[in-house]
């Protein structure tokens, strides 16, 4: 089963500022979908709304036909997100933390450790498995955050600038992982400014799928 995302007139604002202008788009197929827009255009707010962590002020959005609700177990099983820094245990090594996430989703311990090693390898940080989070640089912490998020199952993955602090080589590794996840049937919405990700957007009928937050009153699906 593939996941669908639909937003109709979705907007978020407070008393004195617009966090997300009214936005309409639909995504029906798996793939890597860049979410673009200038700083302050509402990318993070849109991701938070899709993750069920922000209530809309107007319009609605649906994931698999359901209103996002982080208290709904089926929704949580479907949607993974890396919007803020994920919780990290200061006194557990990276490999242990990744394994624990997998164990929490039903993996056996040894399988979880193997898979965690594989994830770190894919992200080119296999050598950091035995380190604690405080022993990482900003870029390594970002990769570890990505690794934590990728360690859990999902159908919809929401990423807020996953390329933050990463060099070109790491961005490339990350994009390859995202592409492979998309090929496996996942829908990945990634807020980004980097051409490496924008250029690898999924293509339908020769047109790259992208959500652009373009202005104070609308957004377009291309």
């Amino acid at each position: 089963m593939t996941v669908t995302v639909e937003c109709r007139g979705l907007g978020v604002w407070t008393d004195d500022s617009i966090l997300l202008p009214e936005t309409t788009f639909s995504l029906f197929t798996p793939g890597l979908v860049p979410l673009t827009g200038a700083n302050g255009a509402g990318k993070t707010t849109l991701l938070k709304t899709l993750a069920g962590r922000q209530l809309p002020s107007a319009g609605e959005c649906r994931v698999n036909g359901q209103v996002p609700n982080e208290f709904d177990p089926s929704f949580r099983a479907c949607v993974a997100s890396l919007i803020d820094t994920p919780p990290m245990a200061r006194d557990m090594t990276l490999i242990e933390q990744l394994s624990l996430v997998r164990v929490s989703w039903g993996d056996g311990v040894s399988a979880a450790f193997s898979a965690a090693e594989h994830t770190l390898e894919q992200l080119t940080i296999a050598q950091l498995g035995e380190r604690f989070p405080y022993e990482l640089s900003a870029g390594q912490l970002q990769l570890f955050g990505v690794a934590l998020t990728l360690s859990r199952p999902f159908k919809l993955l929401l990423l807020d600038e996953p390329e933050r602090h990463l060099d070109e080589e790491r961005v490339e590794a990350l994009v390859q992982i995202l592409e492979s996840l998309a090929d496996d049937g996942g829908l990945i919405i990634a807020a980004t400014h980097r051409a490496e990700i924008l250029d690898r957007a999924s293509v339908i009928e020769d047109v790259p799928v992208r959500v652009d937050l373009v202005g104070p009153s609308s957004a377009d699906e291309i």
Binding site: M1, S74, R76, D84, R90, D91, V109, F113, Y134
Partner: protein, 532 residues
């Protein structure tokens, strides 16, 4: 090569720094002095006077009698060892991060850069602690335990002891860990010697201070001279030691302290405390993760991670038993009349015990802090909130109860008859449950102060209550701990009261704490949902 003398360069640099926008002016300093005098005159001294009037003469006299010398010696020995290690965390040599980084990377000698802030800090510690001791001795003098000459001597003794403590903290900051260990063992050895062999305690400055405090010694003037001379000699050695003070240690400590101050000022007490927690050590690789029954796998995870932060674990192992021992000493006075003079001792003991236990549980509840982070972030783990909480419950609960009993049982064995044992043990267990509730309550609060707390809250009379709200929010765990312990101390001791107080406390704090998590208790695990 520098063309101007080091002193001139230093003066110029400090001149620029002190001339920055927002630097304290002389007016600010005078206002601070005015505030100190105002608080002392209008609150501290009158309260000390009132306590002195209320204090039982025999009890007050006992505190400064020759019989108190061994206890004062023991306490001062412990404080000497603690001062050393406090210095390792934050010593008296302090500059702001910017100044430390800038000045310590120049070719000006470290001795010249650091000598003034160091001596100022050490003497400041002496002045502060001496002032606190003076207020306490003032109360004892009001109770008739000492005359005014003795009052001066005791105050001076307190100040000198504090200067010695500050110098030990300096040594802790300056020395390598190996030397710190050797010095700690030496202090402990001399302390043990002084306890075991009568009169031997007079061979150390700690013993001189204890003898000065306890009085009844014909050589008081000599002891005072020896104590002061020792302090002065060490103070004169300080500049020499500063020459080889590692810059990285000063910079790290000052950055940590300034970050902690910043976090505290914005209400992020957890982040402020985090700055002082020791980093984990690499051990038991891979053993933290286990599958299966949540209680067991959570206990395993928390146990392994606690072993990786031995200082936190050690602090819990020291603070909780000490707190439990103090609280057990209170047992005989439970249910005393409100005007019973024993309350002057039992209430501070109960408060100190509650605080020690509360701070001690911090070393066992890293899992609860992580649990709160887990609740606040996007779903990451495949279990529901109830399971997440169950995983994190056993370690703090079992650990606290075991350590409480470890402190309470020896105290009961030494100080009480057999009939009181059950009574004291039940009391200790009740207290540990109350403290755990308070800790859970605090751990589940939001990371930042709720924004509406910052808005003015005007109560009848036109007074802004917002500062009080913020203070209550910042200290909620401590307030719940101390209040519940005091309620248990002061309320009549019968089963009905116990059930009512404890049951009410547990229900209210746990429900309120759970409300703070923002999680639905009925929510189930996400992994339970099938793929179809």
């Amino acid at each position: 090569m520098p063309t101007r003398s080091d002193n001139l360069r230093l003066r110029a640099a400090k001149g620029i720094y002190l001339g920055r926008e927002g630097a304290p002016t002389s007016g600010d300093r005078w206002f601070s002095l005015y505030l100190i005098v105002f608080v002392l005159g209008s609150y501290v001294v009158p309260v000390a006077y009132a306590i002195g009037q209320f204090l039982d003469f025999e009890l007050a006299a006992l505190l400064v009698s020759p019989a108190s010398a061994p206890y004062v010696f023991g306490a001062l020995t412990l404080m000497a060892a603690v001062s050393l290690w406090v210095g390792r965390v934050q010593g008296p040599t302090f500059l702001t991060p910017y100044l430390a980084h800038t000045l310590l990377s120049t070719d000006i000698s470290r001795r010249r850069v650091l000598v003034r802030p160091t001596t100022t800090s050490v003497l400041g510690i002496g002045l502060l602690v001496g002032g606190i001791v003076t207020v306490g001795v003032f109360a004892l003098t009001q109770a008739g335990a000492s005359d005014w000459v003795r009052f001066g001597l005791l105050s001076l003794t307190g100040g000198l002891a504090a200067v010695h403590g500050g110098l030990l903290a300096f040594l802790g900051q300056r020395l390598t860990t190996r030397w710190l260990g050797i010095l700690t063992c030496t202090i402990a050895g001399l302390g043990g010697l002084g306890k075991l062999i009568p009169g031997m305690f007079l061979i150390t400055p700690v013993g001189w201070t204890a003898a000065l405090w306890a009085g009844g010694n014909a050589w008081l003037v000599v002891l005072l001279g020896l104590t002061a001379t020792t302090g002065l000699v060490v103070l004169l050695v300080v500049p020499r030691a500063l020459g080889r003070m590692p810059a990285s240690r000063i910079v790290t400590q000052s950055i940590r302290l300034s970050e902690a101050r910043l976090f505290t000022s914005t209400g992020n007490v957890n982040d402020a405390m985090q700055a002082f927690r020791a980093p984990p050590r690499h051990r038991f690789g891979g053993l933290a993760v286990g599958a299966g029954f949540p209680l067991a796998s959570g206990l395993r995870q928390d146990f392994v991670t606690a072993c990786r932060t031995p200082l936190s674990l050690a602090s819990a192992c020291v603070l909780i038993p000490c707190g439990a021992a103090l609280l057990t000493l209170v047992v005989p006075a439970i249910g005393a009349e409100l005007f019973d003079s024993r309350l002057v001792v039992t209430v501070p003991l109960a408060v100190a015990g509650a605080l020690l236990m509360f701070f001690g549980t911090g070393g066992l509840t890293e899992g609860w802090r992580h649990l709160k982070n887990e609740f606040d972030a996007s779903a990451l783990f495949g279990w529901g909130p109830r399971t997440a909480m169950m995983r994190r419950l056993p370690w703090p609960v079992v650990g606290t109860i075991v350590l409480t009993l470890a402190g309470a049982l020896p105290t009961v064995a030494v100080s009480m008859d057999a009939a009181s044992v059950v009574h004291a043990v039940v009391w200790s267990l009740i207290i540990s449950v109350a403290i755990l509730c308070a800790r859970f309550f605090q751990s589940m609060r939001s990371r930042d102060i709720p924004v509406d707390f910052l808005a003015p809250t005007v109560i009848p009379g036109g007074i802004d209550f917002s500062a009080v709200k913020i203070l209550i929010w910042l200290g909620d765990g401590i307030i719940v701990s101390v209040t519940s312990v005091l309620a248990l101390v002061l309320l009549p001791w019968d089963h009905g009261t116990l059930v009512a107080v404890l049951g009410g406390l547990v229900i209210v704090t746990v429900m309120w704490a759970w409300a703070r998590t923002g999680q639905a208790f009925s929510a189930t695990a996400p992994s339970a949902v099938s793929d179809s």
